[in-house]
Symmetry: D2
Subunit: 299 residues, 4 copies
């Protein structure tokens, strides 16, 4: 990584060293918010942002995200997490503390078309997407120059369906070596095996070039053109073993008309793809997404 990016990231971490997020889900019942906010108050937390949602206030599932600051947070973490055990048990919660200065370690997978990769690198360079981009993996050499010019390692691993398992073996080794906890498929045009997907559950974000569930699978722009649609779109979702069926994080569309052939739709769509993927990734990095069943709550 280039020095100026290292400095930018160090500054961010320093400024957010007392910042944490608490993500909760549990069966809804009265008293959760009171208990959690009392707990944070007693631990001197200054609440920056708080969001909650219940599928049904009567007997639904309850979700909450609180971002807060605690003076000298580093020295408090152990206490904080231990003392929260009582609340966790009382309400039968899944609860996770996230510490903002512990950046997520990211791998970007890309094939030939670089527009989504470039958008992510752009957002990262400009400081709008704070992450530790460990490496880029591609089955093409196309994007090596731009990636390496930013000081990011680039691994060329040729891939096709006949050598899928060997390829994934190499990829998994690299991902472990770099301690990756988020994989972004920035138009990576290879299908992943259940083994790979299972290894990184809710840690793989894909961009699909249609507004799902329309045009699942290959060549969505051609099929959109053939159907004569007046809107094209893109969808970012977590990857599961059902192709293009994982929990949707974000979608958007753009207008097209009869003058746009499949090639024109592809150009128009690329602009939607890059912004949709960038938004989804930023929400993930900000711990704004809770996956519940096959859906996402995005706070």
């Amino acid at each position: 990584m280039k020095t100026y990016m290292k400095e930018k990231i160090d500054t961010f971490r320093q400024e957010h060293k007392n910042r944490a997020r608490l993500l909760i889900n549990c069966p809804d019942q009265p008293g959760i918010v009171a208990a959690v906010s009392q707990f944070l108050y007693e631990h001197n937390a200054n609440i920056i942002e708080s969001n909650q949602y219940s599928t049904d206030p009567d007997r639904g599932e309850f979700f909450m995200r609180i971002e807060f600051e605690i003076p000298e947070l580093k020295s408090q973490i152990k206490n904080l997490e231990e003392e929260f055990q009582a609340i966790r048990k009382q309400f039968d919660m899944e609860a996770t503390f996230k510490y903002v200065d512990q950046l997520k370690k990211v791998a970007i997978f890309v094939s030939k078309e670089p527009h989504c990769l470039l958008e992510l690198l752009w957002e990262w360079q400009s400081g709008d997407m704070i992450a530790d981009i460990g490496l880029v993996i591609s089955n093409h050499e196309t994007s090596r120059e731009i990636v390496e010019s930013l000081g990011i390692p680039y691994y060329y691993i040729p891939a096709n369906k006949d050598i899928r398992e060997q390829v994934e073996q190499k990829q998994i080794e690299l991902l472990r070596e770099y301690n990756v906890d988020l994989i972004i498929l920035a138009r990576y045009m290879q299908i992943l095996t259940p083994h790979f997907v299972g290894t990184f559950k809710n840690q793989i974000i894909n961009i699909h070039h249609s507004f799902l569930p329309a045009f699942i699978g290959a060549k969505p722009y051609e099929r959109a053109y053939n159907r004569g649609v007046k809107l094209i779109g893109a969808t970012s979702h977590y990857v599961t073993n059902d192709l293009d069926e994982g929990p949707i994080i974000e979608q958007d569309i753009s207008r097209v008309d009869h003058r746009d052939n499949a090639e024109a739709m592809k150009k128009i769509g690329q602009s939607v793809e890059r912004s949709v993927l960038a938004r989804a990734v930023k929400w993930h990095l900000d711990d704004r997404i809770i996956v519940y069943g096959n859906k996402t709550i995005v706070f």
Copy 2:
């Protein structure tokens, strides 16, 4: 029809008595525009608006719509159409002259939910949708009062899949009696038989409550909710015998999020449905749509 609507329509017809539209499609080749515009010039036409499109300038299909005014148009119509035969033959054209003061005769079909019907009546009353609404046909009594209060006949014809043919028989008789040339399915929740659809080819406009081709068929909002989409939409299309597969005229979407259940999506979607249907109908009434294969050119 109420007197003030009759007056509004009469005024419109009087103001547009010299206004016509020429719709063309033929194999593309050089010289079409030159020939057509020379023809109109020689017939003293003042061109109001002109649009053209070719699927491929080399050997594609060519489409054109010209709106124009000719002094004393009524006395020229016969000449105009006869003398255009030469051009029609030369370029192997499908060509239609439409005369703006000959309003389209419309039937609106509706079931229980009145929002699309009401939007159309609204646009019609405010003078933004110029048509001769002959009748409303419904398998429910729900909307009788509002429709009759505007002086429009309301026919209640109970319907279900077991009596489909008898029902359509009655409907077709009414449509013939009223000389209907456009049928609008404003959330009419009955499937039409191939016989009915074939009788009114490219004359039936439907509104489907999803962005097709996603969620073809029943209960799209429920299915959208279950899939966890972040956008819902509506599609207006000409009806063919493939359910929800006809040529798309217009589509639009609205954003939803995890807080919106199926019921909320339905409410949000109704607003999209009504504006999408109203736009599609107005384009049809303005002779802006050419159906080509299973697609529309909308000028």
Copy 3:
């Protein structure tokens, strides 16, 4: 009011008889959320929705809206409000309890163009906008028929700038007689005096036909056309004595191009106006808006 609307409203009130909202603003400091949520928990409240915002978590202003249900709410109101005094004092709060079955009493003011009035009546009839519409006041007779057909009283009060004070005197008498607590200016083209505005602070919602602060004052579409803009818009805001300078509640825009003259812009704009005003009014009726300085927080 027509019987079926009375029934619809009665049903709504019955279903929400235990529903209340608490609106808070105070200087931000740790412990507010803990105290409020503990208070509600102790009063057996089931929280339906909760939103909060702070202009600055350090020393800013804190805002909160909580919607909740308490069994047998009616018998608890006195207790609830009295016992909340301690918290109110502790945090130096402005705090208001709103009871959902106490519908707001609304007057709609309109001049000639009925599109915004009709949109409101539509939303009201379809049950999407729950309010007690007491009366419509207009300086034209245009909309009398449609308003009276819904069983709503219509008062024709001719108005112009020379008789402004007499006119407003009559209007205020009517507003008092009907116990109005929300006035909607649905394209009412008369300027109100400081006396009138002062009498109904943050209780008058206007729709202005431009995206403010562009095109303050008269004839915004003409001026938009002359400027050659590519977007036109509408703004809904609370009325203050600075013309079109009050706190903005909602804005939206629509695209236009060189083919749209001022008249076409006006038509396009009307559709934006009606949806922007309807959204703003619904948020007000749902107690989602807190006015702070010259801005709104919309939860």
Copy 4:
């Protein structure tokens, strides 16, 4: 310029060597389209796209843009332009032929914030914006590295209002040296003198960070924040001597809410700025824009 960009541009020029555009405006009268299309037909032109517009079909101003291909165009240019003189005179036309393989020579001006510059370079590299970028001029060194890495000369010319004339003198010399015919102000934060603006009439495109005419001048995001708007926008326009008052080419907006402070609005706005500027520049490069009075017709 890097070799691969040279190759990409050479390919484009080769593929479009027979492609031209004809831009016309003149007083509207019958026969214009007939004459022009007959002329092109006689010169063996294959029409790719044709657009026309009249401010008023009766006695308005008429505008037309035709894109066409003529076999062996290079050898026909002289004939074509000479023989068109008759039509030009007959209809009192302003008419210009543009040849698509003669790329526009572009200078980009930028100050500190690089997002608009980077968007343009991105579109250029990906082949979506075909132009000959001659040089970048900046009053800061910030963007030198990225610009030079693409093989584009970067000129650092410090600027402030006290040395405006000397600065512009140097800039004009450079612009002449590079034969520049389009100047893009990609967030160049210096005001230009009337002399400079007059030297490049309708050849300077600016991006202003508000939806004009709201927030003309400095610090629009701060002022938008203070006004409490719910939308922020950006406007691309040709530069005239009235600050931010030149003919508008394109505008767009993004939603904001009470949680967005001026800094957040700036971030959100940058994304709008870059897409609005890129669209405007591409339309200019495609000869789609005709300036008429203080407005643009964009075909």
